[in-house]
């Protein structure tokens, strides 16, 4: 395997209101209204095209945007110019840049990055470059340093609800949430180093306390190439754990494509491959293939293309479960809107008879070394698909084409679109450039968050075990912890234990998610006379919003079970199981404790229950 080069791009949402307006960055998925729009292609992005081609390209999809006053204003609807970026949000980006030792620009300029898939109502995404990497901005990993390249501040896109060839629907609640995009240089050399880099950057981002947490608040794009291959941009990896698998499989794919290239070159030259689509509809007049039958009944066509020298190559596996033919099918899907293709390496199949297969090969003029690609669909689509397939076949002679690809759940990727050029970026004229003074940077530098190792030491100093300290720093709750211990009656260990043990347990059990604000409020005010096991109950009641804090604690005092009741139940249990108690001695507490907890979880302190139970067992054994 040739040498591997990987660069990562992180998209981390910031915990502020939206970047270019004052709408909140929360959402409920509700929408009270819909607006229907079309996006049009601009001459600039399509280059030198004749008007007819342009018309075809700009025959636009219909986009429906779900909008709600609670989360949206006219800015997200592209009905009002963007507002200026709040100092607070810009400062957060500066802080992150300085935390990574990057060089901040003296003047940031908002750009428009053309996006016409509808995910931005305007037809572009607003983004600004805040800092560039330098020799000191590196992420240390066990396999060597990884340099950071750039940090940008940009707006989140709209959430896609549904997408089709003619139309797509988006929700606008997410559009405009601020995010930082941090890109590394392609210094990563192995799948495991990619994962480690991702973990380190994620940790550093959380240390700043300025980032959102929860599903989808951070996602990674991967730039991967192998020696002799080409750069691929793989979009939207949300699950960190998948990164090594994706890297591995992409390296595999590129190396397989290189092997195909080498084989191909021994058989044939690219000049032999021409775009001469052949109408095969006649071959399938009397077919029993349901797929083709259905298409023909709708007046669709069957077209084929000869792929000289490709025999056996289309069926070759590139990644587990994906063949070269699958790549061609991707092109047919993206450019022609077809479900897929049929190729001769997999025939006979699809209900196509031996006879039809032979006849199709004959009409296509296939020799022993050739393969054929067949598409089925509406004439215009079939042609568009076949043309795209042809362009992909042609690239096989060169090896690996540069593409934007989408991460799939099994670690494979599929084709999305060609890599974008830098031409799609131009100035946002509605927002003046933002100067960044040296004074501002110095002010932020003074209060930069601690590095993870320093922070761990600090936590150990206030009584946390080394394990707990490390866990806390790597969790999303460091910020909540630090805010809570300032004024709480609970000990730091109690708070850490709640955040690291109880909360994940609650989540696993399908319990409610609490906001940082709610966590901090309850942890700070939780009364010392209530059992610690009631924190979760307090949060649940408080989050329901029907009660004030005082009322919550009053209610818990009412529910709390006193020592007398605990002792009575302990006595009863001991008597009920007297033979077991006598047999096991004090060890019987283990089993009985479980029974007690079933009854008193959340209404009495575990430690208290244990003490009373132990006392009763011992008393009875005396």
């Amino acid at each position: 395997m040739g040498s591997l080069k990987v660069g990562l791009e992180f998209h981390q949402r910031l915990a502020f209101h939206k970047l270019f307006c004052s709408c909140p960055s929360t959402s409920s998925g509700e929408a009270s209204g819909k607006v229907v729009r079309r996006l049009r292609a601009s001459a600039s992005e399509l280059g030198e095209l004749d008007p007819a081609a342009l018309a075809e390209a700009s025959r636009s999809r219909l986009f429906t945007y779900h909008v709600d006053d609670s989360f949206n204003c006219l800015v997200e609807l592209d009905e009002e110019p963007p507002h200026l970026i709040d100092d607070e949000i810009f400062d957060a980006a500066l802080e992150i840049a300085l935390y990574f030792n990057m060089t901040v620009v003296d003047e940031a300029r908002v750009m428009r990055k053309t996006v016409i898939d509808g995910s931005n109502t305007s037809g572009f995404q607003r983004t600004l470059l805040v800092a560039l990497g330098n020799d000191d901005s590196i992420v240390e990993t066990s396999e060597g340093p990884v340099r950071l390249k750039s940090l940008c501040l940009e707006e989140e896109s709209a959430f896609i609800v549904e997408s089709g060839r003619e139309a797509a629907e988006y929700r606008l609640d997410r559009l405009g949430i601020p995010l930082v995009e941090i890109a590394t240089e392609p210094d990563i050399k192995s799948p495991s180093q990619a994962l480690e880099t991702a973990e380190e950057v994620g940790l550093a981002l959380r240390m700043t306390g300025k980032v959102m947490r929860g599903l989808g608040t951070i996602r990674q794009d991967l730039n991967i190439s192998v020696e002799g291959g080409a750069r691929q941009e793989i979009k939207g990896v949300q699950n960190l754990k998948l990164i090594p698998e994706i890297v591995e499989r992409e390296a595999l794919r590129q190396n397989s494509l290189l092997r195909i290239r080498d084989l191909l070159r021994t058989r044939c030259s690219p000049e032999k491959l021409t775009y001469d689509p052949v109408d095969l509809t006649g071959v399938f007049k009397e077919t029993r293939s349901k797929l083709i039958l259905k298409a023909l009944s709708k007046g669709e066509v069957v077209y084929g293309l000869k792929a000289p020298g490709f025999k056996g190559l289309l069926g070759m596996e590139l990644q587990p479960g994906r063949r070269f033919g699958t790549e061609l099918a991707d092109y047919a899907r993206v450019w022609g809107g077809l479900q897929g293709i049929i190729h001769t390496d997999e025939l006979p199949g699809y209900g196509i008879s031996e006879k039809e297969f032979t006849e199709a090969c004959r009409v296509l003029g296939l020799s022993d070394e050739d393969a054929g690609v067949i598409v089925v669909g509406e004439l215009a689509r079939a042609e568009a698909a076949l043309k795209a397939v042809y362009s992909r076949l042609l690239k096989a002679f060169e090896g690996v084409p540069s593409e934007t690809r989408r991460a799939l759940e099994d670690g494979n990727t599929d084709y999305l679109r060609p890599l974008p050029g830098s031409a799609r970026m131009y100035p946002e004229t509605d927002i003046p450039p933002i100067p960044v003074s040296r004074e501002r940077l110095e002010r932020i530098r003074l209060t930069l968050p601690k590095k993870p190792q320093e922070k761990i030491k600090e936590l150990e100093a206030i009584g946390l075990s080394s394990h707990m300290a490390q866990q806390l720093v790597r969790s999303h709750y460091l910020f909540v912890f630090e805010k809570s211990i300032l004024a709480s009656g609970l000990t730091p260990v109690a708070i850490a234990s709640f955040l690291l043990n109880t909360l994940p347990y609650v989540r696993r059990e399908g319990g409610k998610e609490f906001s940082d604000e709610q966590l901090i409020t309850v942890l700070r005010t939780f009364p010392s006379d209530l059992p610690r096991d009631m924190i979760q109950e307090a949060l649940t009641l408080f989050a329901d919003k029907h009660m004030s804090l005082e009322e919550v604690y009053e209610e818990l005092r009412r529910r709390r079970v006193g020592e007398e009741e605990l002792r009575a139940e302990a006595k009863r249990l001991v008597e009920e199981n007297i033979s077991y108690v006598k047999e096991k001695g004090v060890n019987s507490v283990k089993l009985l404790m479980g029974r007690m907890m079933e009854k008193f979880r959340g209404v009495a302190e575990g430690a208290t229950i244990y003490r009373i139970l132990m006392e009763e067992v011992k008393r009875r054994l005396e």
């Binding site: 007819a52 060089t103 750009m111 750039s150 799609r424 970026m425 131009y426 004229t429 450039p433």
Partner: protein, 448 residues
Amino acid sequence: MPYSEEVEKKLSEKGVKPGDRILLKRGRLIVEGVLLPREEVDFGDGYAIVIKLDNGYNVGFRLDDGEIVKLEGSVELGKFKALEKVEQDKTLPPVSIFSTGGTISARIDYYTGGVSMLFTPEEVFYNVPEVLKIAYLRRVERLFSLASEDMTHREWSTMARKAAESLSEGDAGVLILHGTDTMHYTSAALSFMLRGLNAPVVLIGSQRSSDRGSRDSDMNIICGLNVATKMNLGEVVVCMHAESGDTFNNVIRGTRVRKMHSTRRDAFKPVNSPPLARVWPDGRVEMVEKEFRPRGTEPPTVDDVFEPKTALVKAYPGSDPEVIDFLVDKGYRGIVIEGTGMGHVPTEPLDRKLSWVNSVKRGLEEGVVIAMASQCVFGRVDPYVYRNARIMMKLGVVYCEDMLSEVAYVKLGWLLGHCFDNETVKKLMLHNFAGEISMRSLFSTYRL
């Protein structure tokens, strides 16, 4: 290149100019890209040079003690691609397009962000290829490049003459691209100045810049051309988005239209009147108003006189009538007051100095025509309900019924441009020339 003198000096010492590829080294910073001009020094860091990086981002860096090196690979800035000539279908209805400025006429240089003005048919086709199937663009001409707030009656007059000329040469209709802010003043002016109109004169604009995929201009051009070529109409109209979505456009009479929102696509609403029609981008037209002027055979005549000494003044709580005195002293010949409610101005404030009675009285006595419209925008003025209006009426102020104040201003200026005596002007203010006034207030026409 609007760099500060100091920066420019440093750049020229290095023999570097915008468009050059450069390398900037400053401490740990090493950055490479194309030097761009600065659009302004008042915003941002005036001492920063602007560099376009290879990833497309523009960034600003101060030179300070850094070092600039000129590299190979400079770029020619500010040059638009020459567009190929397009063969048009001359059997389609001929139309003239006049661009006058505003967002819809602007074209962005994607490299620098600079803006230039649209003026060839090819530029229209490139952005809106659908045009080729709707109309034969016999003539595409840039009349001026003015923001709409910079327009005066002189430009109205030029537009009127150009439109009349085009129609006399046989065009099926005329399309005028205009800035949106004062488009409704222009549409009113053209409605009065083009007499005996035989075809639609359609004003369109755009609320979003045309660089973006979401621009409203293309649909407005398509709908506007459909109106110009297909509708049986001899009036000046505004044709803009009816909704925030790209669904259909309203065709609104030039004297009954007003920009009601600063930024939305559907900013233009009909006032005190339904839209004349609705038009869809696929060419469908649905008439709404039954009374309209149909196409004719004779080209229009131009009556484009205008008295520039005409003013539009707003009354408000605490407003000082000195403003009327000032205008009278300055020799103004006509004043439209945008009164409160049904057409009121302060007449009995506790501070007597703030009563408008004497100033209005003096103005009228000195031969100024004073007219009253409502700042409510919707509805009709009425001089009989409250005493302060009765006083104004009695003094000789013309109450303009359901006419928009902006339209009343244009109409008064136009009438005063003729050699009529004041009494005639007052009478004609209430005469219906172009659908601008009506005695029936319809239930369904108050819609926001």
